[in-house]
Symmetry: C2
Subunit: 324 residues, 2 copies
Amino acid sequence: MKRATIYSIAKECGVSASTVSRAFSRPEVVNPDVRELIHAKAQELGYRPNRAARGLASGRTGTIGLLVHDITNPFCPPLVRAVQRAADEAEVSVLLVDAHESSAAELRLIKQLKGQVDGLVIASPRSSSALSGAAEGLPTVVVNRRMRGFPSVVCDNTTALLETGRHLEELGHRKVALMCGPSTSWAARQRAATVRAWAQGTRVTLVELGSFTASFEGGREAARALLGAGATAAFAFDDLMACGVMGGLVEAGVEVPGGCSVVGCDDVLLARAVTPQLTTITAPVDQLGRAAVDALGRRIAGEHVRDVRLEGTLTLRGSTGRPA
Amino acid sequence: MKRATIYSIAKECGVSASTVSRAFSRPEVVNPDVRELIHAKAQELGYRPNRAARGLASGRTGTIGLLVHDITNPFCPPLVRAVQRAADEAEVSVLLVDAHESSAAELRLIKQLKGQVDGLVIASPRSSSALSGAAEGLPTVVVNRRMRGFPSVVCDNTTALLETGRHLEELGHRKVALMCGPSTSWAARQRAATVRAWAQGTRVTLVELGSFTASFEGGREAARALLGAGATAAFAFDDLMACGVMGGLVEAGVEVPGGCSVVGCDDVLLARAVTPQLTTITAPVDQLGRAAVDALGRRIAGEHVRDVRLEGTLTLRGSTGRPA
DNA sequence: TTGAAAGCGCTAACAC
DNA sequence: GTGTTAGCGCTTTCAA
């Protein structure tokens, strides 16, 4: 008993294979009665179109690629899930590739993906002009950064960061540290610029430290730098770094938020798993993923798509408070 | 300028298309000189075999599916990465599907994957006999649990748990809590059974609590239960739960490890990101992933494969110490 | 609205 | 060792 094909269905229904094909790919052009009949038979026979055949004939694979720079970064999994779900609803599959933090791997993987997918979502925070070259000719959308030549879907934390700054000022902080992330990271540059701009118009003195790697270890390093700085609050580049900072402070005998307030960014799972829980900026990950898939769908269809900007929102938790 | 095909290469090289095909799929059977020539031309023309065509003709897709129950569980991303890398080396692609914790979705996704992949790796901790039905006919390997009818690759924590128990006993603990995970989880049952067996032969009294969900919140709930139990140490089902327990204890004014020691399981990123860092059992994730891909490869090739059992190892950190 | 027919690019007998 | 010849299952003109 072989798998059902359009031919087996055609024979059973007494129509031609092309009609069966149309009944699935462009149902509106076939006679409703015939269409019903075909669909019923297909159901009965457990027919599933052969994607390879479809791909070969049509040139489309029904699959999109999702390239992530580092799947172990806690920001990633929820994004992957969001992309997946959106793709699933659009009836396309997702080929996930993790570059395990290697830019060289990214290039290789993109080339490899070419011809295997209809389009590509890139979630890689680092700048690399080579990336855009590699993805040339493949409909592509980038997430959480901007990149020349490709539409992007980003989380804009400007408003939320300003709000965070105001919040710290109101709490009475007058000396605040900014612990910068990697200068190659688009998000890190954005966030740093926003915090700097905020500090300008206030009574707050900003102390810039770093840059540090966006990791737990980077945070611990940052904590050491923070200890001598005399700041009573600190912006960490992201939650991972923020958790490292908290850990480092606590070990050095500085209480959070009593001795120093800490704010993160992204609101990853970790932010609620540490004690005290982290005040941070929540990224609309589900919407980011959905928007990326939507945009990519349009790009694949040949439409022109505009950049999408979604707002992060401040989430107050236990890691911020009045200075001692 | 269209993409190069075996035909364009064949013409350029003055050989037949089949020879070109062979030069790639079974290089050893073609004359070395001709092979070289073909490979060189292919390189020059930027030839990439068309996977759809290959799939259609050969019946193989060169893709495996990876079904995960919940990609946001911190255990998952490293496993996904490991599977990816192993697959990459074997020149197969990975179609990742996340069931977002829904068993119904799992079934649907497996069916959907069928015919789209050559084989399937299932990383889903929950019992569901329906799963095995859905995957029928598709070469399948399950990771981190056993499942009737499929070869499995599991992390065995027996030795490490016994060692952990001994460690606690040596530290002077005489009343230890076991906070059980979901009874539907294969790993949870295994771990609980091991801890029970350990306690039998010791001076230690075991207090069983739970079950609780394998989440941070589940851990906080567990902490509340733990407070009244009079235990000086606790086995949490996994790191996530352990972190919740620690958070709950600290909030209730109980110090870790001073007031109560806590041990987790898996050694996810989180375990090093909390303060104190978590004593836990480190799972050999990379090897799990690699073994799964290897085993699946054999299954696809029609070989019989045996279950693989890899050992977890105890990693001592700051969350365990002498009872007060 | 439907059918016939020609591929899509590759693999896999089979014959040479 | 190499070429010839059929397909794999589907889409897509083109005519009817």
